[in-house]
């Protein structure tokens, strides 16, 4: 398999967001594959327990370099990117409600890193971690099927979702650097990444904003990917031939419906009341909210709108064929097993809360 890789196992690889939910698994995966020089970039040296613990494992410490810094600093980016042959860029402004904050922590940081990589001159691939949220999920060429050929949101600001706006703009800047500075790249768009460390219920299933949990997903398939499977997909997109300039969606096989997920969650983690909202009604509510928001000049911010409905609550099928064919990815953790691990983690988290 070695000949299929674009880099040698002694080449330096950089992982940003290395202390995060997915990033830490990417680091572990690279070490498992035998990479000898893994540079981990994390925002703060504090809270780096997962990486520090990893570094203490026999024989690992010498292969791991932990660097703390801020990607908003071009100097920190230059230091981090020095000699890196592959950059796995996972750091992003997640959970930001403000557009400028999300943009700054996703786009400005990415630009700084791309600039540093371009100046460095030895980069073989820049792996940009994006998200399913960039898809508009409208006007798809294959009916309900969402794959890599589907259109990306053209007016992401109108989604009313800072994360979507930032991710679309982040992809744009990667493409710009690919054209302008010749940066070799791959874009990975994971679906809903789940597993121990991320215990929430995805908004694709429903929302608890209004006091009672509104189940919006119904019979929709939830595009889950277990964190270890996702990390493996990211690694393969970074090191395998055939991934240059490509976009990869990451979802696992045998995906559950929203209804099934919620039923299992209630059975294995905790029981709570929920109210099913049929698709036609959720669409109508999103439409009314959107129109009221427009009319009132954002007295209610446009957080619910038709664009968001299409992305999160419209019945959709998903494909991972490209990932399997191009880089030989297979989900190592079956969805059934992943869900068991996830629910167990949720129970532990609840018990310790």
């Amino acid at each position: 398999m070695e000949h299929e890789n674009i880099i040698d196992k002694n080449d330096l690889v950089l992982v940003t967001g290395a202390n995060g939910f997915i990033g830490s698994r990417v680091v572990e995966g690279l070490l498992e594959l035998g990479f000898q020089r893994v540079r981990c970039f994390a925002r703060s040296s504090k809270g780096g327990n997962r990486l520090e613990a990893l570094a203490k494992v026999g024989g690992v410490g010498s292969r791991l370099e932990i660097v703390s810094g801020n990607l908003l600093s071009p100097q920190d980016c230059a230091s981090a990117a020095t000699d890196a042959r592959v950059i796995f860029h996972l750091a992003a402004g997640r959970g930001e409600k403000s557009f400028p904050d999300a943009f700054m922590n996703s786009v400005v940081t990415t630009r700084n890193l791309l600039e540093a990589a371009a100046n460095n001159g030895c980069l073989k691939r820049f792996v940009n971690i994006s998200s399913f949220s960039v898809y508009s999920n409208q006007h798809k060429s294959h009916g309900k099927l969402l794959d890599e050929s589907c259109p990306v949101e053209q007016s992401p600001a109108l989604r009313g979702e800072a994360y979507c706006f930032a991710k679309v703009e982040q992809e744009q800047i990667v493409l710009e650097y690919a054209t302008r500075r010749g940066i070799p790249y791959a874009i990975v768009r994971p679906g809903q990444v789940y597993g121990p460390g991320n215990e929430g219920i995805t908004g694709r299933v429903g929302i608890g904003t209004f006091g009672i949990f509104l189940h919006l997903g119904g019979s929709n398939t939830i595009p889950l990917t277990y964190v270890d499977n996702c990390a493996n997909a990211i690694i393969l997109a970074g090191i395998k031939h055939g991934a240059d300039g490509q976009i990869f969606n990451v979802v696992d096989d045998d995906l559950p419906s929203s209804r099934k997920f919620l039923r299992l969650y209630k059975r294995h983690v905790r029981s709570f009341p929920s109210l099913y909202v049929p698709h036609v009604m959720s669409y109508a509510l999103c439409y009314l909210w959107e129109k009221y928001s427009e009319w009132s000049h954002d007295q209610l911010p446009p957080v619910f709108n038709r664009r968001r409905w299409h992305t999160y609550w419209k019945s959709t099928r998903y494909s991972n064929e490209k990932l399997k064919k191009r880089v030989g990815w297979m989900p190592k953790v079956r969805t059934e097993d992943g869900l068991k691990l996830f629910f167990e983690s949720c129970r532990v988290r609840r018990a310790s809360a």
Binding site: S44, S73, F99, P100, V107, A157, F165, W295, H297
Partner: protein
Amino acid sequence: MLRVAIIGCGKIADSHASQIGRIKGCEIVGVYDREPLMAQQLAKRFPIKKAFSSLTQLLDEARPDVVHITTPPQGHFDLAKTCLEYRCHIYVEKPFTVWADEAEKLIAIANERQLKLTVGHDDQFSHVSRRMRSIVRNGFLGGSPVHMESYYCYEISKAGYSGALLGDKKHWVRRLPGKLLQNIISHGIARIAEFLAGDSPEVITYGFTSPLLRSMGETEIIDELRVIIHDVDGTTAYFTFSSQMRPGLHGFRMYGSKNGLMLDQDQETLIKLRGARYKSYAEKFVPPIVLAGQYLGNASLNLKTFLGNDFHMKSGLKFLIESFYRSIIEGTPEPIPYREILLTSRIMEAIFKSLSESVAEPTKDYVREHAATVV
């Protein structure tokens, strides 16, 4: 048409762009940020004519009448001075300047050039704050306030702004003399300053790092602050800033010689506190009923304002900007008197000086380390 520009395209600039968009008779002709991408993202999302990559280019080409300065505070003085030199009126986000003497200089320049300026103390222009001001002016308190209490809390979490601040030892907030406090407390201090008669009140400060932050290894950030202010005419005030108390209040109470007022900014409620007492057991039953009626009245008023489409989260900001623009166009008084801007700056400076002096000479008792008195 008033030509408006924004300098600094971070989080608060969104609120400015959004509220300016609701005001008739003005247009945003340009935005600038030291980071060009930030200027571009703002221009993409709002009706803004152009994103500029240099300050002088913005001032020369866009030729704004008013400039909103929404950068971190360290840049306020230089940027404001440059804009005044270009004959622009300026709206500066809070805190107005880092140091009080910088505030004095800006006001002097503005006066000399017959330009106007204001500061982003928009909480004082929310619906409920305006109602309170009107009642005070009508003499409800029975004269000058005897005592005031201002609460301005900030819930620290690992996410968002505070998470970024705690995780980044080089964060710009840490480079402010008053650090986190300097970036936040001016809303609460300005409420007190508005009703003080003198220009140099006594300020007694007591601050410390909360046990929660200390447990996270934080040693620089003071997130618990108690201040006593004593004015020349005998009016006193307490100011409380806390990251730990719950509920995290944003409120203001005033007590006069006759009656009192209790404002809750988060709930947008204003309660009149009757000075006189009812006789005997009536005091136990009548006031709770009267208070319940007042709360109901507040809820009803808030609902009415919402249905009237005038209850936006930043309605105070819109009112302040609108009043400021009117003062420019019609030559009416500025919405925030310069005296109040200066007094707020002086009180804040006194607080930060006393905290830094006490930290420089620590004693064995941790709490006493951060206590000090400034006259």
